[in-house]
Symmetry: C2
Subunit: 158 residues, 2 copies
């Protein structure tokens, strides 16, 4: 007789991981063909919304990468001439990160097909279900802040 109880709920973190991998599986070949890692692409994509440059701290926050990890990633991207770093004029503690023309070309050339995949997805799921997906993910992301109100910060636009 088997006494071990099974889970009543399907493994949600695993499903989120697999869903992410399913999406990345489509675009990863295009990234790798351009020598980009997942994280590097995340950085480029964030920088796309900040042509004037972005502080390292904010970049880390929006790309969801820890500070020390980002330092290494930016070093490699700098070596590949995808981004450039410059000490801020106002606050010499912070560093502004900007994507180079080469970095811009790369992200430009990638965004086309990626945008197309979103269109296809919106068509497959239906626009309202895609919106629902976004809303549900937002709700999950908001969970920890509910439990630890002290850490509640201004919402990020990602």
């Amino acid at each position: 007789m088997e006494t071990r109880s099974k889970f009543r709920y399907r493994n949600l973190p695993l499903l989120l991981l697999r869903a992410r991998e399913a999406l990345m599986q489509e675009r990863r070949p295009e990234l790798r063909a351009r020598g980009l890692s997942d994280q590097q692409w995340r950085v480029l994509r964030v920088l796309r919304n900040h042509p004037q440059g972005l502080e390292t701290g904010l970049l880390a926050e929006q790309a969801f990468i820890l500070g020390p990890s980002l330092t290494g990633i930016l070093s490699r991207m700098e070596r590949a001439e995808l981004v450039e770093r410059e000490r801020s004029a106002e606050d010499a503690r912070s560093v502004l990160v900007r994507s180079t023309p080469r970095g811009q070309e790369l992200s430009e050339s990638l965004s086309g097909t990626i945008e197309m995949r979103y269109e296809a997805l919106a068509e497959t799921l239906g626009p309202s279900r895609l919106r629902e997906l976004y809303a549900l993910l937002d709700a999950l992301i908001a969970l920890p802040e509910q439990e630890a109100p002290a850490a509640a910060e201004e919402r990020l636009e990602v």
Copy 2:
């Protein structure tokens, strides 16, 4: 004049990653307190549904871990006496993985609080929205199979 176009869609892989991290953030302390990595917990959780043992290949599939990675993970888990490996009697090529009593105790002690978090989540979102979330994630996971019907396999129960 700024000519760079912004994305019309929010970064879905990033949101999936952040949603996963939001969930893991809650349970990771409990895992680490027991010396478990994320992947090790994924293995234990899968094995929980297979008390009689599971072949390495199937385990890799269900835990969503590549073969060579799983080999290393299982080695460490074996050293920690969380699982044991045994060559299959029917097919000497394959290896059966089983969780030890110690591994079972660990997963048993963890499943309680985790189950509670699912209950809380179901309450927060509402049961129907949680179901919708599962359905949407399944749809995303099914995407690559639609595009490459040759790789279509039997659906996994995860």
